[in-house]
Structure formats: structure tokens, C-alpha cells
């Protein structure tokens, strides 16, 4: 009953409303001359310094869903759920090496999206369109997952109902507010809110990590309780350590997720909004502070076992919603007012990434579909206008994913999202280093990787939940004819095949002297810094200096 949670609800609501007000004020923050330009609305003026970038990119990569789902995974499976820690260690050196180049070339050519880069580099509107659509499709369910995070919190506070409308009304209201201030303030809104979000989250986690063990007999006792649970469980894949069959899955999932992360359009948005290369590089050594937070939070999954937390019922009769593990743990162990603060941290934590993701998807639509195919002469003001409207459409789409579909289905979609966004790796990430690949070969590789990835995901069943298809990302190698019980991450295999096909097709197309697109970039573009002037591109895609 919600009446038992009145204090929590009031604290949650006050913080939530305060932050929303901040979102509207953000339009005036750092006083842009005009918001009628995509650089201002969609990239915050491309002028964020180290601190803002730290909060923005951190708030972008570590989402409400991460904070809810990773501990839930650890609660259920143990060691396997901890893959999120190596994953978030690996991404920063990768970002350090790759994204500074993307920043430079984007600065020089005024690029806004990863597909913009592909368009300029490979001179192929078709390839750019594929990258843009892949990005939009992969981002939608990711936004929907932010709602799953808020919903877990609302459910724990008893703010839920029997009918579909009653169950989703609070989320629809929250999202309408989010949509309104994102429309008005663009990327400045999540950048400003991220300060509040992260302050709250840091406080909550530090308290949780020190306070909860003191209540539960120390970390030693917590791990003992978890060990006892996994020993008693019939499942073969859980435990405090990895077993022989899931180590390969652990490695490929951590590595594949890291590669996928910087291909997601919203990561690119956060990075392109920074002022110069130094800001990015410096952030790559400061951002892992969040990884520490994530690791500690993950282990709250064990604390929940020791505290005897039972997940709340799921949407279907008989099912459980493991995403409620951490909220229920907080509800049980914290005083009401502090549980309210913790819930607000998770709820607000959903708004920041949801806003950035919808802006990133909207930019993709504007630059790579609207401007490329619908209105080639679009002015910057028209671009900004289209992006604003597209960001609303994207959010409505994400909302429909949750309201009309089973939330579990949204989680499956996100799983697919990770696999498909990886298929843009050869054109986006490798494209930053080499122009060797032929544009036609990249399209062929994309198609091959996408096809194989979907087939593999379709083959994955989970007998425990009775799902026959799309029940996870761990593909049993025995289906490829290997005599083993080991599993491997689908995205990793799919992107390898994509690369092989792209390489072979490049050799064939070059041998056949098939025309390739013009490269609109020059070597130096990948190293320029903020003091360099921007260039334009003439009608043939040849670079010209802007006078």
C-alpha cells in the first residue's frame, strides 16, 4: 500500500519536482546567443569543460537501469552479473584512443552524429542511413529501460495499480515533464540535472556500502549468505565464482559491451559536447570513479540475499520482477526519509540518460534522414526545430514500448540493441583509423553481422522461464557443432563475422575496380583541436576551408 510509504513518496516527489524545475531553467544556463541551432540545442554549444563533461558523460553511461539491473543480475546469478565491472574498466582506454579522433574530425567538419562521420568519410548516404537507423533502433529500447528503472522504484513505494493505465500513469507524467524540458533546453537540461543526480547517487551508495554491512554482519557474512543461496540453487550457471562454461561468455560480454557502448549515439553526443581534446582525455581517467560506484552497487545484490529480500511480483501472474531487488532492500533497511532520497536518486538517474539518448536519436533523424533525404537546404534553425520535435516522437515511442509491450520484452529489445549497434563498428570505429574498407563492403558486412546476430539471438532459449527465443545473449557453442557446454556473447561473434565479410568484400570490390565513395576528410582532421577553424564541404563532398 502506498500509504505505508508516504514519507518516501513525499521526499521522492519534492526532489523530482525540484530537478524538473532545474531542467527548464537550464535553457538560460551558460547563456547561448540563440537556441535555434543544432549545435546549441543538441550539443550544448560544443563548449562543455571538464566538470560538466564528467557529470554529463557519467550520467549518460551509468543509467538508472544499470543501477537497478546489475545488482539484480548479481542477486540472481552471482559472479556473471559482475561483468559490468571489467566492462567499465575497458571502455575508458578505448574511448581515450578512439573518441578524441572522432571529436577532432567532428569539430573540423561540424559533424553531430556518428552517421555524419560515416557520410563524410565514406561518401555514401546509404551507409550513413544504415548507421543512423541502427542507432535510432538501438537507442529506443535503451530509453524504455530507463522507465523500467523508475517503475521498479514506484512499484516499491506502492505507487502502482491493477489496470494498465493506473500502473503506468506516474511514468507517463514523469516522461511528459522530461519531454517538455528537453524540448526547451536541449542538452543543457541533462547536463545541469546530472550534477544533482550524481550527488544524490554518490551519497546513497556510500551510505549503503558502509551502513548495510554493519546491519547484516559485515561483508564476510554477506558473501557467506550468497554462497549458501547459490549452493542450494539447482541452476548450473550461478555462483560466487565463474565456472568452466561461462568464462568465455564473461570475457566476450565485457569486451563486446565496451565496444558497443562507444558506438551508441548518446555516448558520442556527450563526447562531442566537450570543449576540446584535453577535456575528453582528462575525463577518461576521472570517469572510472563511477565504475567503482557500479561495482559497489553490484555487490548490493549479495546484500539483498543476506537481508532476505524477496523481489516484488512481475507484470504476469506467477512471475517476479528482479529489478525491484535494490529498491526493496533500501525500503527494508533504510529509514523512510533516506529511502525516499535513494529512490529519487534512481528516478532522477533515469531522466538524465533518457534525455541525452532522445536528443542523440533526434539528431540522427535530423541530420541523416531529414537533411539528407527530405530537405537538403535545411537551415540550422530548421534543423534545431526538427530535432526538438523528433526528440518528442522518440520518447513517445519508448513510452509505448513499456506501456503496450511487456517490460520484459523491452529488456529483450535492449539485448538486441547491443548486438545491432555493434554492427556499426567497422564503419564508425575502424573508419576513424583507416579508409581501407570499401563502402559497399561495409554495407555487406553490416548485413551479414546483423543477420547472423538475429539468428543467434533467436536460437537462445531459457527453459527456466519457458521462453523459446531471445531469452538471453549467451549463445551455446554446441549449436555451432563444438563439443562443449561453454557459451559466447552473440554480439562478439556477429561483429567478427561482419569484419571478415567487410574485409573479403573490400578485396573483391577493389579487384573488380568498383567505384568507391570520396573521402571528405584529410589526415590532419583527426588531430585538430579547438583552436582550429571549421571547414565546410562542397557539393562533391570535397573539403573546402570555410572563409
Amino acid at each position: 500500500m502506498w500509504r505505508d510509504h508516504l514519507t518516501e513518496i513525499i521526499v521522492f516527489a519534492v526532489l523530482f519536482v525540484g530537478v524538473s524545475a532545474l531542467g527548464f531553467v537550464a535553457a538560460k544556463w551558460r547563456r547561448p546567443d540563440t537556441m535555434e541551432h543544432l549545435d546549441e540545442w543538441g550539443l550544448g554549444g560544443r563548449n562543455f569543460g571538464s566538470w560538466i563533461t564528467w557529470f554529463l558523460v557519467g550520467g549518460d553511461l551509468y543509467t538508472a537501469y544499470t543501477f537497478v539491473a546489475v545488482p539484480a543480475l548479481v542477486f540472481g546469478a552471482g559472479a556473471m552479473g559482475f561483468f559490468a565491472v571489467p566492462y567499465t574498466v575497458i571502455i575508458y582506454p578505448l574511448f581515450f584512443l578512439v573518441l578524441v579522433r572522432l571529436w577532432s574530425v567532428s569539430h573540423r567538419h561540424g559533424l553531430v552524429t556518428p552517421a555524419d562521420f560515416v557520410r563524410t568519410r565514406f561518401g555514401s548516404p546509404t551507409l550513413a542511413l544504415l548507421v543512423a537507423i541502427t542507432g535510432i533502433v538501438a537507442t529506443m529500447p535503451y530509453i524504455a529501460l530507463q522507465l523500467v528503472g523508475i517503475e521498479a522504484v514506484l512499484k516499491t513505494m506502492g505507487v502502482t495499480g491493477e489496470s494498465t493505465v493506473a500502473r503506468h500513469a506516474p511514468i507517463i507524467i514523469a516522461f511528459a515533464i522530461l519531454a517538455a524540458y528537453t524540448y526547451q533546453s536541449g542538452l543543457r537540461a541533462p547536463a545541469l540535472i546530472a550534477f544533482v543526480k550524481d550527488t544524490l547517487i554518490y551519497i546513497v551508495i556510500l551510505v549503503a556500502v558502509f551502513w548495510l554491512p554493519s546491519q547484516l554482519g559485515g561483508w564476510g557474512a554477506i558473501f557467506d549468505a550468497a554462497q549458501a543461496k547459490y549452493d542450494a540453487s539447482p541452476a548450473a550457471s550461478d555462483g560466487l565464482l565463474l565456472n568452466a562454461n561461462n568464462q568465455l561468455q564473461y570475457i566476450t560480454l565485457a569486451f563486446g559491451s565496451a565496444l558497443a557502448l562507444f558506438l551508441y549515439p548518446h555516448s558520442v553526443t556527450g563526447v562531442l559536447a566537450s570543449r576540446n581534446r584535453d577535456v575528453i582525455k582528462r575525463n577518461m581517467s576521472a570517469l572510472p570513479a563511477y565504475s567503482l560506484l557500479l561495482g559497489l552497487l553490484a555487490m548490493l545484490g549479495f546484500a539483498a540475499i543476506a537481508a532476505g529480500v524477496k523481489p516484488l511480483p512481475g507484470a504476469n501472474p506467477g512471475s517476479v520482477d528482479t529489478n525491484t531487488i535494490v529498491p526493496v532492500l533500501f525500503d527494508k533497511q533504510f529509514p523512510d526519509w533516506f529511502a525516499g532520497v535513494a529512490f529519487a536518486a534512481i528516478g532522477i538517474g533515469a531522466l538524465v540518460p533518457a534525455a541525452i539518448m532522445s536528443i542523440a536519436a533526434a539528431n540522427l533523424f535530423t541530420r541523416n534522414i531529414y537533411k539528407e533525404y527530405l530537405n537538403r537546404e535545411a537551415s540550422p534553425a530548421q534543423e534545431a526545430k526538427v530535432s526538438k520535435v523528433a526528440s518528442l516522437v522518440v520518447k513517445v515511442g519508448a513510452l509505448l514500448c513499456i506501456v503496450l509491450l511487456d517490460p520484459q520484452f523491452s529488456i529483450d529489445l535492449q539485448l538486441i540493441g547491443g548486438v545491432i549497434i555493434l554492427q556499426t563498428l567497422p564503419s564508425v570505429a575502424l573508419g576513424l583509423f583507416t579508409r581501407w574498407f570499401h563502402k559497399g563492403a561495409l554495407i555487406a558486412g553490416w548485413a551479414a553481422g546483423m543477420g547472423l546476430g538475429m539468428w543467434m539471438l533467436y536460437q537462445i532459449a531459457n527453459p527456466a522461464t519457458g521462453r523459446m527465443h531471445f531469452a538471453g545473449s549467451a549463445f551455446p557453442l554446441e549449436k555451432f557443432g563444438f563439443d562443449t557446454k561453454a557459451t559466447i556473447y552473440v554480439g562478439f561473434v556477429a561483429v567478427l563475422v561482419n569484419l571478415v565479410v567487410a574485409a573479403l568484400a573490400t578485396l573483391v570490390l577493389r579487384a573488380g575496380k568498383v567505384t568507391d565513395g570520396p573521402d571528405g576528410t584529410v589526415h590532419d582532421d583527426y588531430f585538430v583541436d579547438e583552436d582550429s577553424p571549421r571547414r565546410g564541404t562542397d557539393s562533391e563532398g570535397e573539403p573546402v576551408a570555410v572563409a
Binding site: 565491472v85 574498466v89 559485515g218 557474512a221 581517467s285 583527426y526 583541436d529 577553424p533 570555410v546
Partner: protein
């Protein structure tokens, strides 16, 4: 916007032997045999957990070191680069 690219400096400035150091935090967390055991434990945390958290510190120190060693000097001679230096 001023004159066309008067201040472009030579390329390849990202290439530094220090960058190789970044391989360490990329590869280390992927070798599960290094940490997939429960002993020795630390403050009650099995080795699997504390060692992977420790890798975060390895990541921070290597990226900080590489950043400092490859940081560009803010001033210095600026040599206009050739426009035709296309990447192959």
C-alpha cells in the same frame, strides 16, 4: 572564421609509444584466470570481487599517466601542413 587553416600543425601527434600502455587496462580485466578464485579474501570480499575493483585503479593510473605523458604543449612552432596528406 579567419584565414583558411593558418594554424594547422603536422599530423600523427596522437602516435606515442605511451599509448601502448593503454593495452594493459584493456587486456588485464579479460583474463579471468587471474582472479577467478575466492582466496585470498580482503575485508570479507572474495578475490574475484576485490581484484576486479582494483583493476579500476589500474585503469585510472594508466590513463592518467598516458594523458600526462602525451599532453600537448600549449605553445610551440606551428607548421602549416600540406592539404594533400590524405589518409589511405
Amino acid at each position: 572564421m579567419g584565414e583558411p587553416a593558418p594554424d594547422r600543425r603536422p599530423g600523427d601527434r596522437d602516435h606515442s609509444p605511451w599509448n601502448w600502455l593503454l593495452i594493459v587496462p584493456i587486456v588485464l580485466p579479460l583474463i579471468t584466470t587471474f582472479y577467478n578464485s575466492s582466496s585470498p579474501d580482503l575485508l570479507g570480499f572474495p578475490r574475484f570481487y576485490w581484484q576486479q575493483l582494483a583493476y579500476i585503479l589500474v585503469g585510472v593510473s594508466t590513463t592518467t599517466l598516458v594523458y600526462r605523458m602525451t599532453k600537448r604543449r600549449s605553445s610551440g612552432p606551428r607548421i602549416p601542413a600540406s592539404r594533400s596528406s590524405r589518409e589511405g
